[in-house]
């Protein structure tokens, strides 16, 4: 009796310790980013590797916001990521719905093409895309990035949406269609409201991916007026590579929107994937 009790307590303790180790590992780099961003310049080298500086300051954030172009980069990234999130989720829901509800000729091919589109190094298409978009006036433009990012993110988003649709019984829209609604009406009024968490998770996922993209942002947009945050931050790093406080303050600012978004949607991601797994 006593032996099993100690056994259970031991197991719980081990479980808690292991989880604590994972939490510490996940958060430590972000904690360090925050710490350095708050360390005053005069303590930066003297107390560089202490866990917490003896004084903290918001100066680095002040100079990043006032004396750099980061507010502009932030705005550009917000526009591009939000537009990409909306467009890719819309296109992917339609495709995911088709994958989940229809058997149609060529379906395996369509899904195979989408899978292959996830397999090649995207560097190989930078030059062709530049040549494609340039005559259309879509280089050095935020719309160009939206088009490219929407295409890149649609395949995975479609598979994700498919798994959310799989979790919703077909009877629901069939009942609505019996009552005289077309399939599209049934989809809009019955099914989509039920997949709201799935739409949010997919949208959040795409938003995060677009927010993080560096390569195409660098290559397609050379003008600072249409630079996104990653390209801006990298430019800042290569220009002022010793101003650690400001770089990390900018890094923390880059992290805020995606971090907040992610904390809100992460449980729906698990739910959505669970739903997909049930169906196999």
């Amino acid at each position: 009796m006593n032996k099993t009790a100690t056994h259970i307590i031991g197991a719980r303790l081990l479980h808690a310790l292991a989880l604590a180790a994972f939490v510490a590992f996940a958060l430590f780099p972000l904690f360090w980013l925050l710490k350095v961003s708050l360390t005053p310049d005069d303590l930066m080298y003297g107390e560089g590797v202490r866990l917490w500086p003896s004084r903290v300051t918001l100066d680095h954030y002040g100079s990043v916001l006032r004396h750099s172009q980061f507010p502009l980069f932030f705005r550009n990234s917000l526009i591009v990521s939000a537009a990409t999130g909306l467009l890719a989720t819309a296109a992917a829901s339609a495709a995911g719905y088709a994958f989940s509800r229809f058997r149609f000729r060529g379906k395996a091919w369509v899904m195979g093409v989408m899978l292959v589109s996830q397999m090649f190094p995207l560097v190989i298409i930078v030059a062709p895309i530049f040549r494609l978009l340039s005559p259309l006036g879509l280089t050095n433009s935020l719309s160009g990035l939206v088009v490219v990012y929407t295409a890149f993110n649609t395949p995975f988003a479609a598979f994700l949406m498919q798994s959310f649709f799989e979790a919703i019984p077909k009877d629901l829209e069939e009942a609505a269609m019996m009552d005289g609604a077309t399939r599209f009406q049934a989809l809009r009024r019955v099914i989509l409201p039920l997949t709201l968490p799935g739409l949010a998770a997919t949208g959040g996922f795409v938003f995060t991916a677009a927010w993080s993209e560096l390569l195409f942002s660098l290559m397609l947009n050379s003008s600072a007026a249409v630079s996104t945050f990653p390209a801006g931050l990298l430019g800042f790093v290569s220009k002022f590579s010793v101003d650690f406080g400001q770089m990390m303050a900018a890094g923390v600012l880059a992290l805020l929107p995606v971090g907040a978004f992610f904390l809100l949607i992460q449980r729906y991601l698990v739910q959505g994937l669970t739903a997909g797994a049930v169906k196999g």
């Binding site: 994972f22 590797v49 989408m114 292959v116 904390l263």
Partner: protein
């Protein structure tokens, strides 16, 4: 009649916007990009552009940079994916058990996934910098480093920097997908196994692992392809250096294209990488098929 036609067309209409977009922005450029592999194409050089057949592929055979990058790609991908998967599986198993505060813990341990790739690279590069980061001092304290120096500037150790960042960043992906798969295993299977006297380890081996196997196969395959293509961490943390020691194929392609402006040769290397990855994916699919057939 037209109603029947409309019904047959319906699935295509739903899939059309995605397909058109992917075809225009990804597949057509892919074909163009692959065709560059057979051309002498140097950006800003108006004399280039000739068809050169297989010259780039012959050049590759004697290119030490290519072979180093190929070796590094294997190490980088295998070590990163193995560690991401191992820790991800442990984390998923830990999170699968109910405990107070699970929602919060789950959100926190998954957070690295939300960190943009380039920013994880920068953050880890800073952590490895002895001026500003603690890691060299800790590694020195543990006796792993003779002096607290930056491993990113040591050709023998530098690849471990991006690998550490990659593991940190990639654990949540496996944890999320494996947790989802774990939660869809009906609980009564475990109860039945426990009733038959199976201990936790045996239940894990005989019940959990076989049921997770299909998810594991597909996620490991997707992740392997993705990690092999993932150049950002290396470009941001070491730029492939010192002296090309940490170049993987995808970062090498990046360097060839955007520093040497040699798009022809870069495309040829990319074509080789694509073929290797497709062969790998096909092998995994065949293996998975064979395993499910047997079961």
């Amino acid at each position: 009649m037209s109603r029947a036609l409309a019904l047959r067309l319906e699935p295509y209409l739903y899939a059309a916007p995605s397909l058109l977009l992917i075809a225009a922005i990804m597949l057509v450029p892919l074909v163009t990009g692959l065709s560059y592999a057979f051309h002498d194409l140097i950006l800003l050089d108006p004399l280039s552009g000739d068809f050169v057949g297989l010259d780039h592929f012959r050049e590759m055979l004697d290119d030490d940079g290519f072979w180093t990058a190929l070796r590094n790609t294997v190490v980088w991908t295998a070590v990163s994916v193995a560690l991401q998967f191992g820790f991800g599986l442990i984390l998923a198993l830990l999170l699968d058990r109910p405990f107070p505060g699970r929602g919060l813990v789950q959100a926190l341990v998954f957070l690295p996934w939300a960190v943009p790739g380039f920013l994880s690279g920068l953050t880890w590069a800073w952590l490895f910098n002895p001026v500003i980061g603690p890691l060299p001092h800790w590694l020195h304290g543990l006796g792993l480093l003779a002096t607290p120096e930056n491993i990113l500037s040591d050709p023998h150790l530098a690849l471990w920097g991006p690998i550490a960042a990659n593991v940190w960043w990639g654990i949540p992906f496996f944890a999320i997908t494996l947790l989802a798969a774990l939660q869809s295993i009906p609980k009564d299977i475990y109860e039945a196994a426990a009733m038959d006297g199976a201990g936790p380890l045996l239940r894990f081996r005989r019940v959990t692992l076989p049921l997770l196997a299909p998810t594991i196969a597909i996620t490991v395959m997707l992740r392997t392809v993705w990690v092999a293509n993932f150049a950002e961490l290396i470009v941001v943390m070491t730029k492939g250096g010192p002296a090309d020691a940490t170049q993987i194929l995808s970062s090498y392609i990046f360097t060839l294209a955007f520093q040497r402006l040699d798009f022809g040769y870069a495309s040829a290397v990319a074509a080789v990488l694509l073929v290797l990855l497709l062969a790998y994916a096909a092998a995994v699919m065949v293996l998975r098929h064979a395993m499910t057939e047997r079961a």
